[in-house]
């Protein structure tokens, strides 16, 4: 199968959906000729024109509000938010306006929009350009949240996001835009709420989101060499969450570590760990462990920044200890 980058995969998904559905359009800062700073949208304006690939002023709450209005009235906007950190600017439009229309109208109004943005540290971008804020949107009923972990996932999830009748936040990892993976030529969609078992194992379950899937896989390779068999699962969407697949795995392995790049305090990892503890308690040999980014704003200095994100070595170390029967606690 051909291999393409995550960036190309997203680009293809958008182009295919825009060809399929004339009510779709893209809105965001420097999305047209510039194709965004990460160049993910390059070429789309040539095909679809500036009417459907629209450069906006630096007015995030404004253009997200526009998307909500357009979605409410029959279009399917795809909003490009240059950095995930800017989610803070658009919280009202996303959480008070987009997320609540369906419910407040008793099911009469819907907001079929996609907000695509990114997460991830270790690019030396400083505290205001390095955050992983998936938990903020996952907390809000009415929003769906997808976290692709490869080019393949990015394309299939994006296509589903665009066709979904709800506001969907899809968050890509900035460090993965150039990562290649096999992506079929023929069309496919990845349904929401279906976790992907990346690797089968019997001793411990490693649940990772976004780039933490790679971290989990690397940890699994380290552990394999030591005779520990780790199962690696990518939930793909955290809202909806495929609890069944996670529970089934944990009932089999009896141990689990959940890894996400958001801060650990009150994070995604806490939510998933808690569900496993509640629903698989009698199968567990150890408390489910959480591993998130450190609870500090992301520092600039390379020597400090690298400390803040979970690494394969640290995941493997925790897994080793859990499997040895040590009682360890989330930091």
């Amino acid at each position: 199968m051909r291999e393409i980058t995550l960036s190309q995969a997203v680009n293809e998904a958008l182009a295919e959906e825009m060809r399929r559905d004339p009510t779709t359009f893209i809105l965001g800062e420097d999305v047209a000729e510039a194709g965004t700073p990460f160049k993910v949208l390059s070429g789309l304006v040539e095909e679809f024109g500036t009417e459907r690939v629209i450069d906006t002023p630096i007015s995030e709450p404004g253009f997200v509000g526009l998307a909500v209005g357009a979605a409410l009235t029959g279009a399917r906007p795809i909003v490009d938010l240059m950095f995930g950190d800017f989610i803070y600017l658009v919280m009202d439009q996303l959480c008070n306006q987009a997320a609540k229309q369906q419910y407040m109208s008793g099911g009469k109004l819907s907001v079929p929009m996609v907000l695509r943005t990114n997460l991830g540290a270790t690019r030396r971008s400083g505290a205001q350009h390095s955050q992983s804020l998936q938990v903020l949107v996952a907390h809000i009923p009415g929003l769906k949240v997808a976290l692709p972990s490869s080019a393949y996932e990015a394309k299939g999830l994006m296509k589903t996001a665009i066709r979904d009748n709800n506001p969907v936040v899809i968050i890509e990892d900035k460090l993965m835009y150039q990562d290649k993976a096999p992506v079929p030529e023929e069309e496919y969609l990845i349904p929401f709420g279906e976790a992907n078992i990346k690797r089968e194992g019997s001793d411990i379950t490693l649940i990772g989101t976004s780039s933490m899937v790679q971290v989990a896989e690397e940890a699994a390779r380290i552990l394999e060499a030591e005779g520990i068999s780790a199962e690696v699962i990518d939930p793909r969407t955290i809202v909806p969450l495929d609890e069944d697949t996670l529970l089934k795995s944990v009932r089999k392995t009896s141990r689990a570590i959940v890894i996400d790049e958001g801060h650990q305090n009150y994070g995604i990892t806490g939510e998933i760990a808690s569900r496993l503890n509640e629903k698989a308690f009698y199968y567990l040999d150890a408390p489910v462990l959480r591993m998130g980014a450190m609870d500090v704003p992301v520092p600039f200095s390379p020597v400090l920044e690298d400390l803040t994100v979970p690494t394969p070595e640290r995941v493997a170390e925790n897994a080793r200890r859990l499997c040895a029967g040590e009682m360890i606690h989330a930091a």
Binding site: T56, I58, G126, V296, F300, S301
Partner: protein
């Protein structure tokens, strides 16, 4: 609004500049340009990581304004913040250390290029969120008025940032409450990869005027013109006549950030050359200094050379400096509070 305490800050008198002032303004502009040239080199050589935005070409704005301020006056800065930082009095060593993530940097390596600031000279910080400091600047001005302090706050931002709603919210309050704040819009013609006329409807100054704020649009390449207007507005702010809005027409020589190399699809090489050759604030001021007999060509060359040397030394110093200890990673997340003040009845 009541004035609780009266602390008079030392204010520069409003007389016309003398030889020292002129030479200091020239020096500061060259220090900014030289800093940026070195930062660019560090980046291209792979010694500096992250995102960085060069201020070269816009020196007369930061220097013209900051020379009208005292250390007590505050500024807020932007993602393009090195120039403001130098102009407000920062030293090279600590700045380069910050750029390289070293412990001796102004922010102990935690801030980096986009968050650099020399706090001791009233710089409230570079800000990587476009428009993110407009509330901070206006709040600083509110504090001055509330506490009866006579310092002024200058809020630097770009033309692109005028699209953020926050500006209109805070200008409304600043005008309603007569706050000592100057909104300094650096209009360099571009907002990232987009021309200003494609992102700003109508006139930029008219937006401030809609709130009853007196607004000016001036040549941002003329350091003396910028300085003269700034001194007047600062004095008027101290006299409770603020807020003000100034649009400074300027240009950035580099790409939006250091990685923005192939930019011909949004601006021509010819346009860039025209600004560099015909409207450079440093060349222009240098010519004037010589013409007026304030400095000779030789003196200016010696000055430039000295600054180059300073930068070279500071870069070498920063390269050799230590990184922060890993234990610093979770320091400074929260400020400490004196437990005594938490006692009831304190």
């Amino acid at each position: 609004m009541t004035s609780k305490t009266k602390t008079k800050t030392k204010t520069k008198t409003n007389t016309s500049p003398n030889k020292d002032d002129y030479l200091r303004m020239y020096t500061q502009m060259v220090r900014i340009r030289t800093f940026e040239d070195n930062a660019n080199q560090l980046y291209l050589a792979g010694k500096m990581q992250g995102l960085t935005h060069m201020y070269s070409g816009e020196e007369a704005v930061a220097v013209g304004i900051c020379e009208a301020l005292t250390d007590n006056d505050r500024i807020t800065s932007t993602h393009r913040g090195h120039g403001h930082c130098v102009a407000k009095g920062a030293n090279y060593k600590q700045m380069f250390c910050e750029l390289l993530g070293k412990q001796e940097g102004y922010c102990r390596g935690k801030g980096g290029s986009m968050h650099i600031a020399d706090q001791s000279h009233g710089n409230l910080g570079a800000n990587a969120i476009v428009g993110g400091s407009m509330g901070i600047a206006t709040g600083s001005a509110l504090r001055a008025k509330l506490l009866g302090q006579d310092d002024v706050t200058v809020c630097f931002f770009g033309d692109g940032a005028t699209a953020q709603g926050l500006l209109y919210e805070v200008m409304n309050m600043a005008a309603l409450w007569n706050l000592p704040v100057i909104y300094a819009c650096e209009n360099n013609g571009y907002s990232e990869y987009t021309k200003t006329e494609e992102i700003a409807a109508g006139s930029i100054t008219a937006r401030a005027e809609a709130f009853g704020i007196e607004a000016f649009s001036i040549d941002g390449q003329d350091v003396l013109g910028v300085n003269e207007l700034s001194k007047k507005l600062v004095a008027r702010c101290r006299n409770n006549e603020g807020p003000f809005f100034v649009e400074l027409m300027t240009y950035r020589y580099h790409g939006h950030h250091v990685g923005d190399i192939n930019r011909e699809y949004y601006r021509s090489k010819k346009e860039e050359a025209d600004w560099k050759e015909n409207r450079d604030p440093i060349i222009r001021f240098r010519g004037w200094l010589v013409e007026q007999g304030i400095a000779t060509e030789e003196e200016i060359e010696a000055l430039n050379e000295q600054i180059k040397q300073d930068a070279k030394e500071a870069v070498a110093y920063a390269e050799a400096a230590a990184y922060p200890d890993v234990a610093e990673v979770d320091m400074h997340v929260y400020a400490e509070t004196d437990p005594a003040t938490l006692q009831a009845g304190h």
